[in-house]
Symmetry: C2
Subunit: 357 residues, 2 copies
Amino acid sequence: MIYFTPGPSQLYPTVAHHIQQALANDICAISHRSAAYKAMHQHSVEMLRALLQIPTTHQILFFASATEIWERLIQNCVSKQSVHFVNGAFSERFFAISQELQRPCSKIEAAWGEGFFFDAEVRRVLETHRTLDILNFTHNESSTGVMQPLSIVYEYAAANPTALISLDVVSSIPFAEVDFEKIDATYFSVQKGFGLPAGLGVLIASERVLEKAISLENQGISTGSYHRFSQMWKKATQFQTVETPNILGIYLLGKVAEDMLNKGIDKIRTETKEKAARIERFFHEKGNYSFYVKNKEFRSPTVLTIDTLRPSAESIAFFKQKGFVIGDGYERNKGKQIRIANFPTHQVAEIADLLGF
Amino acid sequence: MIYFTPGPSQLYPTVAHHIQQALANDICAISHRSAAYKAMHQHSVEMLRALLQIPTTHQILFFASATEIWERLIQNCVSKQSVHFVNGAFSERFFAISQELQRPCSKIEAAWGEGFFFDAEVRRVLETHRTLDILNFTHNESSTGVMQPLSIVYEYAAANPTALISLDVVSSIPFAEVDFEKIDATYFSVQKGFGLPAGLGVLIASERVLEKAISLENQGISTGSYHRFSQMWKKATQFQTVETPNILGIYLLGKVAEDMLNKGIDKIRTETKEKAARIERFFHEKGNYSFYVKNKEFRSPTVLTIDTLRPSAESIAFFKQKGFVIGDGYERNKGKQIRIANFPTHQVAEIADLLGF
């Protein structure tokens, strides 16, 4: 079976080898306070920095999941107002977390299958808030296959210079080419684009995020406990974590980032576009299918979401018989859509096999 | 190298094989909402229930670490008073988490190297609180090698029937034989006694824990977001988790629990005692060493803590040369002690090798 599901997905081809090496080198047995651990952690951070071109102003913090990062961002960064740009199940869930944490929050909505323009009406709504702690964007809504153009996110950032900007790149990284100078908190989990076992979330945070967290602490607002950004940041500068982390996960992330660096990030991004175009062309010619995201400017090349004329279970079963696992529509679109992940792990030849049956 | 460090420690001997199987069976690629995932999750839960004799009244919840469980217990269970029995670095850290979360808390202290008796003075202090939400005990203080007799914990439980009782068994499980009818929240991380890669915490919670969490929610107290016990419990009854979890970790826990069940938990516990007695005898005869925990009733068989007359670095280097990694003293005892883990992964023959140089 080859998994074309939008997360968890097929492991990156080198992962099995790296796990062997990890076992041979006792990576799981070393103390997280040892020099050996720190060297490993540093390697992972440096490979990720090199791959994604992360500036030294930004720190890399490790969590258990992107879901946890949602919680920690709100705890550490919001006292006055968190604004969520909501256009699908995952951006909606992040908004719900703000509510559950009882921090002031509001949402700006677009229909499922659509994204956000730099809209006068939206800007007017944003201006009604005296203080905006953070504007939260989802680069790639895994539930709908909408990829929000980053140029529009940057426009909102420029128009709101005192607000932090967060960006969910869970199902677009490492394809996503983020200008970190313009984004304060970019985050993802590793089981999608990096093709790693689930259980690790990564936050790339600017110094403004740290300053905000410290300012909340100084106001006596609880920013959590062991995963307060102020504590995590300190440890991160020493290539350590506060608690015993998912050591194997951090190791594997570094190794796969290194592999991707060796392959070339430009090549990975070009291949992603080519593979997406191939899949699009196939379903376009096929009939009985149409793309859910009508505006091509917002159509994701990493999660392709396709309306099926007949129940999606038929397509899913058909592909499964051929050895390919693809995703169903999400929540309200279950049974009416298929979703196909197009991550770096998915080889050109595999896409050809998927489409060539 | 064989790791006798008190966590992370040597992997359980079958782990490498199980990881191979996991990769061969695409465990890391399956969706956490699929039937295949649920069957895997159920197997892990059932093996753990069988191994530790966990009653059906108790639910098994998965977290990223025992550190996270500290935070979640306080968030979900404390509005009036959390009392911490503190006798080392880890019980102290749990207390600090209560403070950081700004929930009412206090501590009852014993000196490092000592444990708690069912003491009249302590009982008087407990009676000064109108409402006790939870009493927090550490079964095995990894920083000092004190194992608190469970009989005394049960006495405090019986004397405070309305309070929840929590028990940290991080470095004593599965040796610890817990009477779950008397303990509401038993928790551990998997990288110690289970010999698994770090990145998974397990909470065995009674229905009283769930009731307390719901009661706090009903009072409008924020109990967190995605890891609110009320949400986690619901998902757990369907053998699922709220977020994409550490799937490989949950799989491996089930497999190793099954292996331990096949070996026999009684045999594992008997061997642990025999191996501990052997290590004790060795250092007793050796001279230049003495046991840190003077009262034998409180001396841990799973983390043996030994004062060294000469700097501990010498002993650590000596053992390392022979292929064995042992632990240093913790924090204030660094340089003055060695700590040797005696977990199920540490085979009788390895202990003989360790001592037989």
